[in-house]
């Protein structure tokens, strides 16, 4: 059995993550002896849908706009030290993203850059919208087939491993499971087969812990005085050390802030998990119920005991459809009797919108404390005895198929300047196009038969 350890660092846990987080990760990986990888996980359900729309307008685009923000900072160092990059920065257009990476390498004077992509997640290339709409829904709204503009299946890690076997420097994928960005390199390095279920489970757990970047190293964790984290302004992103027996250690980049402790690992282990005995992926069903964690030195946590069961016979698919418009506006009141003035402002806008015949529900928040804990009717706010003095913001929100309705509500909030209660200020508004998503299930055979890998040449 191989004695080597594979080192996998994270450069981003979502589209919008710190632009420079990968730099110390790459500096640390350079010091390690063994196969080394850098992953960027930048795809949410919405991100992909938006990218599909961009690709419809321009077939060269539709890869992540963060590709140009993240990669130039580390591409030369990664190439020089054979740190391979695996990412879903491909979004809706991995081929377009690959071409851009090759172009970027040329601009930076990096020779012999090689990039491969994974094809096959886009169901719209071989299924009609009505067929997709008829697939069983497991989550989200029922989607009207006529409005579907994207449907992407979560592909497993074997395609990522197949792309790495092309001996490339960078692999760009579209929709795979997030954990596949980590499990793919492990399958490639260790040759884990489909019946190595406990090993696939360990690799999937490592992927789940690494995929959200700094969320396992003290990011999204700090609660001053209760859970203190050092150096949040220089949060170190995680590095996983995985061996052929499925041993996993989570640590972080050298010379950075943040921390890796039992508590940071526990919060991330169960993040967005439902039944811990059955975390479903196309590669393996991960059972975390026997997982134990142990200290393994400063900022090092060892994770043991992941169990694997066979994966499901279906793949999860995210279906995206046009979701109309979200309009939001707000206006702030401060000082004596501010709450009464904000409540009156809400009543005025509510009455005028009713008079206008707007039928879509409008939400009225008075934000100061706890409006996010409240419900549509403001039931908690009404039951509280809040001080009338203070700083309170009226905030309206409407979802509507008719953009003019969203504009009307926003205009009514704006008109409070001269026609509303005294002393309102700081008007802000926006109207944004929305995407509705649903998760459906598709039999894996026909999708996986179409999965392929391809090296993109300059």
């Amino acid at each position: 059995m191989s004695k080597k350890t594979v080192y996998i660092g994270s450069g981003a846990g979502f589209a919008g993550d710190r632009l420079d987080a990968a730099v110390p990760v790459v500096a640390t990986l350079q010091q390690r002896d063994g196969p080394r990888y850098l992953i960027y996980e930048v795809m949410g359900e919405r991100t992909l849908a938006i990218a599909q729309r961009i690709k419809m307008r321009n077939p060269d685009k539709g890869y992540s706009p963060y590709l140009d923000a993240y990669l130039p900072k580390i591409l030369a160092d990664c190439k020089a030290h054979n740190i391979r990059i695996v990412s879903n920065l491909g979004n809706a257009n991995p081929v377009g993203g690959a071409r851009r990476v090759l172009e970027m390498a040329a601009e930076l004077g990096i020779a012999d850059m090689r990039v491969a992509v994974v094809h096959g997640d886009d169901l719209m290339t071989f299924m009609r919208a009505e067929e997709i709409a008829a697939l069983p829904t497991i989550e989200g709204v029922e989607i009207d087939g006529s409005k579907i503009f994207a449907a992407n299946a979560y592909i497993g890690a074997r395609s990522v491993a197949a792309a790495l076997a092309l001996d490339v420097d960078v692999v760009l994928v579209g929709r795979t499971t997030d954990a596949a960005l980590v499990l793919g390199p492990l399958i490639h390095e260790f040759g884990w087969t489909e019946d190595n279920l406990d090993l696939l489970a360990a690799g999937t757990l490592a992927g789940h812990l690494l995929e959200c970047g700094g969320q396992v190293t003290g990011g999204y964790f700090c609660d001053p005085g209760f859970k203190d984290v050092p150096g949040m302004d220089n949060l170190g992103f995680p590095i996983g050390e995985i061996d052929a027996t499925g041993g996993v250690v989570i640590t972080k980049a050298d010379n950075t802030g943040g921390m890796v402790t039992r508590a940071t690992v526990i919060e991330q282990m169960l993040y967005e998990v439902h039944d811990p005995a059955a975390y479903l992926t196309p590669d393996v069903t991960l059972d975390m119920t026997n997982v134990t964690i142990a200290d393994d030195g400063p900022n090092r946590i060892r994770v043991m005991g992941a169990c694997g069961k066979p994966p499901p016979a279906t793949l999860k698919v995210t279906v995206s459809a046009d979701g109309g418009w979200l309009g939001e506006a707000d206006l702030i009141y401060a000082g004596p009797n501010a709450l009464a003035r904000a409540e009156l402002a809400a009543d005025i806008v509510r009455t005028r919108c009713q008079r206008q015949g707007i039928s879509d529900p409008i939400r009225f928040d008075i934000t100061a404390s706890g409006s996010v804990f409240d419900n549509h009717d403001g039931i908690r706010r009404r039951g509280e005895n809040r001080p009338l003095d203070g700083e309170y913001r009226l905030r309206t929100a409407i979802r509507t198929a008719d953009k003019a309705c969203a504009q009307y509500v926003n205009d009514e909030v704006l008109s409070l300047f001269c026609s509303g209660p005294a002393g309102g200020g700081g008007y802000r508004c926006n109207i944004t196009g929305q995407v509705e998503t649903a998760s459906v299930l598709v039999p894996r055979g026909p999708v996986e038969a179409r999965c392929s890998v391809e090296e993109i040449k300059p």
Binding site: I266, F373, H376, T437
Partner: protein
């Protein structure tokens, strides 16, 4: 039998919320491992469900992971439609871990409550 005191969950445990559709999951872990039995006894499905009923929550399912130790709470229909259709400013319900920590009270041994003096 040591003395006990009633505290907000926030005093003795930490939590993180995540979303999938209109379902929220909240991880709760004690600061001290000896507190875990008290959390298992008192952070019940019914009590958690009650905290989210006003948002339309229809069920709460609890998974207990004694090895970590931690509790995973899955609350159905807690997100006012979820990221697709919620009009809440927090579409994903990311803040809801602190609704739970702030409004659920537990009775625990005084000597297990972290000292916040100074």
């Amino acid at each position: 039998m040591s003395a006990t005191m009633r505290v907000r969950l926030h005093e003795v445990a930490h939590a993180r919320a995540g979303d999938k559709g209109n379902r929220s999951n909240i991880v709760v872990a004690p600061y001290h491992p000896d507190l875990f039995a008290y959390l298992v006894e008192q952070v019940t499905e019914d009590r958690v469900h009650d905290l989210f009923r006003h948002k339309g929550a229809t069920a709460c399912t609890r998974y207990i992971l004694p090895n970590l130790p931690a509790i995973n709470l899955v609350i159905d229909d807690a997100l006012e439609g979820g990221v697709n259709s919620s009009l809440n400013q927090d579409l994903h319900g990311k803040t809801l871990s602190f609704l739970l920590l702030g409004e659920l009270f537990v009775e625990v041994p005084t000597d297990l409550v972290p000292n916040r003096q100074g």
